[in-house]
């Protein structure tokens, strides 16, 4: 008997399901960052607003990368439902705390999917997800570094803090070498 599912796609159903859930998670991240950008923007934190607008775009890009991958492999990608996200925050610190928490849950999710790939011997998808592993290292580093700066810079130097936070990058990723 022919293996019809395999002839259609190399992606197993469990991996397809997990990647679709990841697409949704990235789109939720995108929506959350957009809300953070809006909050910063209306509270006069222009640089942080710019930082989060860019983050929001990047998360959408992460989702699209998976979306195209599924389509190219003959699997089915679903445009996800994105539920309502928080629009208001208590402070700049709570914004960055939210960002770090979101990145941690994304990292956990990526690791979980790699586990599924290994169980299913799906090395192509695992290879793709390596990019996400590296990306998550950077994103977690940046969110953590921002929280450190918020603690280190006196809270009355808001203009300086705003500028400084938006300039945080991660240049030292050991995987880049």
């Amino acid at each position: 008997m022919k293996d019809l599912a395999r002839l259609r796609t190399a992606i197993k159903e469990s991996v397809e399901l997990a990647l679709n859930q990841q697409i949704q998670m990235e789109m939720v991240s995108s929506s959350k960052y957009l809300a953070m950008a809006g909050w910063c923007d209306r509270n006069g934190l222009d640089h942080c607003a710019g930082f989060f607008y860019k983050q929001s775009d990047e998360e959408r890009h992460h989702a699209m990368k998976l979306f195209h991958y599924l389509c190219d492999q003959g699997a089915t990608a679903y445009s996800p439902e994105v539920p309502a996200v928080a629009q208001e925050f208590d402070s700049l610190r709570s914004v960055f705390e939210g960002a770090l928490e979101q990145e941690v849950s994304v990292t956990d999710s990526i690791n979980r999917i790699i586990g599924i790939c290994r169980r299913e011997s799906d090395y192509a998808t695992e290879e793709l997800l390596k990019w996400y592993v590296k990306e998550q290292m950077e994103e977690e580093y940046i969110a953590r570094r921002c929280l450190e700066l918020i603690d280190q810079i006196p809270s009355d130097q808001i203009y300086y803090l705003d500028k400084k936070l938006a300039s945080v990058t991660y240049d030292g990723n050991v995987f880049d070498e």
């Binding site: 008997m1 022919k2 293996d3 019809l4 599912a5 395999r6 002839l7 259609r8 796609t9 159903e13 089915t76 011997s121």
Partner: protein, 120 residues
Amino acid sequence: MTSNVPTTYQEVFRTDKGVVYQCDASYRLILEFWNTRTQFSARDFAHFRRMVETIDIRQMALSTAASDDVEILTLPRSERCYVLTLCEIVHLRELLNGAKLMLDLNSMLRECGCTLPQPA
């Protein structure tokens, strides 16, 4: 219904309520249930199985609203639909999940270089 089965159809899984066949010539899976035969591509079959799998049968069982007595499923790429009672959903699930198990087994055998013996 089961009487006039085309020779290209191979039985994948059977319960006393229905059968799933595979036709290697047309790359189709054929669901025979409730005196109807429906052909699916592999993709649509998986999609349809998920549709049946995700019906909230708890809600159907608990609700007294008439609209919760049946579930209407539109078949992928077709104008036809199934109107299913709770009981039929349970039977259909059993059939589709059994078929999935056999198809997965067929995949596993292919992966390790074996094939199921062709029926005579």
